[in-house]
Amino acid sequence: MNKKVVLLLISLLWITLAVGLVKSKEFLLKNGKSVLLETLPADPRDLLRGDYVILNYKINTLDLNLVRSEKSSYNPGEKVFVRLEPRGRYWGAVAVQTKQDFQKQGDPAVYIKGRVKYYSHFKENSKMTVDYGIGSYFVPEGEGKEIERNIGRTKSAVDVEVVVGDSGLAVIKDVVVNRRSIK
């Protein structure tokens, strides 16, 4: 194959991939539904690795006695959809299932896609940890300390605004520290 043609094709591939990735995220940010999620305090020593902050949400841990569940047990690595509904200031998990429901018009809920990390069952209690792909927030160097201090301080110090698309994919839109956006 002609080398010039190869060069053009590779350049086109790289540009298409980069643009495609950006476009998909921008589309999600523009057209998805915005939800405010509550973060949980975490050990500040582990929070900041390099220049990103690890975010732990209340909806990461699901107590199957408190949310509606399609199944009685789940396997690590299994894909799940968690139904979120507004509960006061924040959105909380109300149900978990393995397939996404067709969203009815007027339904205020959103379905966020996640993957089961851990599942445990002890006596009457069943709990599982779900990862939604929104656990990291990249910050400019030096600015993570403030977020770190605030997550450790009080429960409501750091809130995260997340946009959830129709497919259940989510992306972080903003991090709010003490009701002030860090953007």
Partner: protein
């Protein structure tokens, strides 16, 4: 940084306009040396022409080298200035602008690589390096997009996938070894990140390696080795996560690659290792013996014989011992017997070693391959078991556990040993003195271990038997070494004897309350015994050399 940009630009302008005569005169100055070179005119005629127009003779190479160097310095200053500018204001630059900037640099570097490889002559190394640099910049672009949209660290496998795949065409179509190596390493990282994050087997990785990476590696052994190591390490990972079909796919794929390229032995060795891990995974996941492994083992052994590969044959022997253990473990579970470290387990392995040794003798007598390997493997296996059974603590701990499966296995092997010995003896297979002595040692082990098996709870008696067998091993080797004048056999006997003394010494004195006594007595013993043995060994070696 502004001053850097400014000065870079100034230098560039100066060079471009340095001593610029009229275009036509400049053309004449540059063309004249070429006419002289082609002998269109003589040097004197050239001088006459230059004098007529009042021009100086210039050395074009020097002029253009100087131009090139200064242009390069100017370009570097300009580039550094831009970098510093961007770096200092990086955080203030919007994310999408940063992405476009980096993508532009990436594509430009790719083009530069193409330019210096295929267009400009004389810069092949630079071209290759620029292709690698472009591949690295592509990775930085993907990582930057990941950072802008906060793709989490837990999805780093996705980033590595987006990095490794698009650089494959650079590696393949531009035949760039550096990028090929980079892509191989990135794919390995992608594979392990995928396995650990998604907790699911990654069948795509071996398929990509077989279909793309190995088939395009051609003569590049670093690329082949890295990819094969990636596959083998994936198969090692499989038993921990019960990915039995992944290990089988890897083993089968490597075996097929070997069958297509018999000169590439690495494929066979790694196929063997991968299939060993497949059988471990199969047995541990299903708790049943893996009889499917037997025909595979026969095939691997057949290939070892066909291509005379002793390393692979060793792997096959190890695989056989492992398979036997896994099978007995499965049957123990099925029959609800205890599978634990017991005397019968150790004796079983000892008897297995003797069987291998006899097979070695039979192979030697019939001129078959690998007789030395069978003999050494069998001898070492039996010796290891003899050594273990000389420890009173081992005998104490293992005495109470009885597994009928192992006992029956020992009886079957004992029967097999007797039959094989009888058969080979009738064929006249034990005429060699060395073989007679070695076999005698092993038979002493056989007799001793059968006695231990009969009454495993008699710890003191069994300890005595175990240590006696160990001393017999040592003395037989020493005597044999002297008789046959073979220094390595003699040295082996001395080494076994020293091991016996040291082990028993540690056994006895370590339990003393005063630990310092252990070290003091041990130190004296080692010094005295060591110097005595070394003197004796030197005397013996000198005697042998003189006789030769």
């Amino acid at each position: 940084m502004f001053s850097l940009i400014f000065w870079g630009f100034i230098i560039y302008l100066i060079v471009r306009s340095w001593g610029k005569p009229k275009k036509v005169y400049r053309w004449l100055q540059e063309e004249l040396p070429r006419w002289e070179e082609k002998m269109l005119i003589s040097r004197e005629q050239g001088d006459t022409i230059l004098k007529f127009y009042n021009l100086k003779r210039i050395d074009p190479a020097m002029k253009s080298d100087l131009t090139k160097t200064l242009s390069l310095i100017g370009a570097i200053f300009l580039g550094l200035g831009v970098l510093f500018l961007v770096g200092a204001n990086w955080q203030k630059i919007p994310g999408l602008t940063k992405t476009v900037l980096l993508l532009t640099v990436t594509i430009s570097t790719l083009y530069a690589g193409y330019l210096f490889t295929y267009i400009k002559e004389g810069y092949p190394q630079l071209g290759k390096s620029l292709f690698l640099l472009a591949s690295l910049f592509w990775g930085a672009t993907v990582a930057l997009i990941g950072q802008i949209y906060h793709i989490p660290v837990s999805e780093n496998w996705y980033i590595f996938l987006l990095w490794s795949f698009p650089i494959l065409p650079v590696a393949i179509f531009f035949e760039n070894l550096y990028t090929h190596l980079l892509a191989s390493v990135l794919l390995i990282i992608w594979n392990f990140l995928y396995l650990s994050t998604n907790q699911a087997p990654n069948y795509f990785y071996p398929l990509i390696v077989f279909a793309v990476m190995l088939s395009t590696a051609k003569g590049s052994w670093p690329v082949r080795y890295i990819n094969v190591m990636g596959l083998v390490s994936t198969s090692v990972y499989c038993p921990f996560y019960s990915y039995e079909w992944l290990a089988l796919l890897i083993g089968a794929g490597l075996l097929v690659y070997y069958l297509r390229n018999p000169a590439e032995r690495i494929f066979l060795y790694s196929a063997n290792v991968a299939l060993i891990f497949w059988t471990i995974t199969f047995t541990t996941v299903r708790d049943v013996p893996n009889f499917l492994f037997l025909p595979v083992l026969v095939l691997l052994t057949g290939l070892s014989y066909k291509d005379n590969l002793s390393k692979n044959m060793l792997l096959c022997l190890l695989a056989l011992v492992l398979w036997l253990n896994l099978t007995l473990h499965s049957f123990s579970k099925i029959l609800d017997y205890k599978f634990e470290f017991s005397v019968s387990l150790i004796v079983l392995h000892s008897l297995l070693g003797i069987v291998f040794y006899i097979i070695g003798i039979m192979s030697k007598n019939r001129g078959r391959l690998f007789f030395e390997l069978y003999k050494i493997f069998g001898y070492l296996l039996t010796f290891a078991c003899v050594y273990l059974l000389s420890f009173p603590d081992v005998l104490k701990g293992a005495a109470s556990l009885v597994n009928p499966l192992y006992l029956n296995g020992c009886l079957v092997l004992a029967g097999a040993i007797i039959l094989l010995l009888f058969y080979e003896f009738r064929q006249g297979g034990f005429k060699n003195k060395l073989i007679q002595m070695e076999l005698g040692t092993l038979l002493a082990a056989f007799a001793g271990h059968m006695l231990v098996l009969v009454n495993p709870s008699a710890v003191i008696l069994n300890t005595l038997i175990g240590n006696t067998v160990l001393v017999i091993f040592a003395l037989c080797n020493i005597t044999l070494g002297v008789e046959l004048k073979k220094t390595y056999v003699f040295n082996l006997g001395v080494a076994i004897f020293v091991l016996f003394i040291l082990t028993r010494f540690i056994d006895v004195t370590w339990k003393l309350k005063e630990k310092s006594l252990f070290f003091i007595i041990g130190g004296i013993l080692i010094l005295v015994l060591g110097s005595y043995l070394e003197k004796q060994r030197r005397k013996f070696v000198e005697r042998i050399s003189r006789n030769e």
